[in-house]
């Protein structure tokens, strides 16, 4: 079981959280102007990387707030978590820092 660092509450067991899928998928500001292909990409197509994945989590049995995390999908190690609204971290820098540890 993972120990996940909620940016609002601190480290808590995985059972308190719910996974929310890929992060930083932005809903279009002008939905009526989007093509079918763009809608399909927004709704269904995902990066699904083998390696660092930027994803949403929700501390559903705690503060109930969403936050984002960067996790290595080959080891499930969570490199960092950060609040919604903060920019996506530099993945290469994170990976280098992880490699140095």
């Amino acid at each position: 079981m993972l120990l996940i660092h909620c940016p609002y509450c601190g480290p808590r067991p995985e059972l308190e959280f719910r996974y929310g899928g890929e992060a930083h998928i932005v809903r279009a500001e002008d939905p009526s102007q989007k093509s079918d292909a763009e809608w399909a990409d927004f709704l269904y197509f995902r990066t699904n990387p083998r390696g660092l994945h930027v994803e949403r989590w929700r501390h559903v049995h705690g503060c109930a707030r969403f936050f984002n995390a960067v996790r290595d999908t080959t080891s499930d190690f969570i490199l960092t978590t950060y609040r919604i609204g903060e920019p996506k971290p530099d993945l290469e820098a994170l990976a280098a820092k992880r490699g140095a540890q």
Partner: protein, 417 residues
Amino acid sequence: MQKFSGLALLRQGLGGHLGWQPQWRNPEPKPAYDVVIVGAGGHGLATAYYLAKEHGIRNVAVLEKGWLGGGNTGRNTTIIRSNYLFDESAALYDHAVKLWEGLTQELNYNIMFSQRGVMMLAHTVHDVQVFKRHVHANRLNGVDNEWLTPEQAKEFCPPLNIAANMRYPILGAALQRRGGTARHDAVAWGYARAADAMGVDIIQNCEVKAIRRNAQGAVEALETSRGTIRAKKVGVVVAGSTSVVMGMAGVRMPLESYPLQALVSEPVKPVFPCVVMSNTIHAYISQSDKGELVIGAGTDAYTSYTQRGGLHITTHTLDAICELFPMFRRMRMLRNWGGIVDVTPDRSPIIGKTPVPGLYVNCGWGTGGFKATPGSGHVFAHTIAKDEPHPIAAPFNLDRFKAGYLIDEAAAAAVAH
């Protein structure tokens, strides 16, 4: 190819079993093939077999990063059924069940296909309504499925607990008698042996590193850990790794890869006559011919490529098993493991052409691909050979996500399959 029979067994027995030959070759890759299949699991090997047998395309290679049948083919819980709700799904999965029924004879390989019946338990009024709808929809599609009362369910599967004071009481069950199990390793081995005999090269320990495309954008060659292999057509059948391999050709996929866990108990004498599934409380169980109880459930909660998963997921599954079958409460579990399944938004597979000419994909089987192995290979081979989808595979194209014609078995069953 040595033909297997009772007589052959007797003859080999008299010779001290020294005359058996390897069941397939271990060839070096040739510089070029007409068709290269990436992934030597059941689906990939079946595709190669039907390409050679039904379409006469024998200059085929099947590339495998690890060993043959070592991915999800050897990790699933071997359940076979075709009681899907929608017409498109029923056609696809029942096509597979019909092929399963003659497969041992066709491949001359005992795949231990056993139509012992698959029973799906209903625990809520919603379950009852959904399953009855499935029963009616299946019958209209010519797929057998029948409704059982709790007493009939217990008669069919005596270990079942139908007490009224259960946490999730059993209100009935849907039974597909043609459903059952097969030995998953033997399916891969049988297809490999039969394909190899027709000239298909099965190349193990050969990882695809890159997909090379020509100036027109079409597939030209694969860069692998065993050198460059040119190919006129490439079929990608790599389950959980589909997003990664398709990414090499610049194709983005509507997939997420999740770990799916399974476990087996210590082997015991025959105690369990059929397959029982409970989608609502997340467990399914059958007994292998070796005697182990084979147990599985839904996927883990988050995407991952780790081929393991959380212990609390399997614990939850065993909670359900012990509630449904109190006689297993003191059974000891022997092993557990995980496989990586590629899940589509509508929980239906993707079979067909891609935006890249010469590149075909067969993926998205999620948690329920094993049951479809022969049908999947059969329709995918047709799709590759003719460069147009097999009529059964046509609705499962990649473009359905843009067109909106989803085959929403996820909503139909309300669980992962």
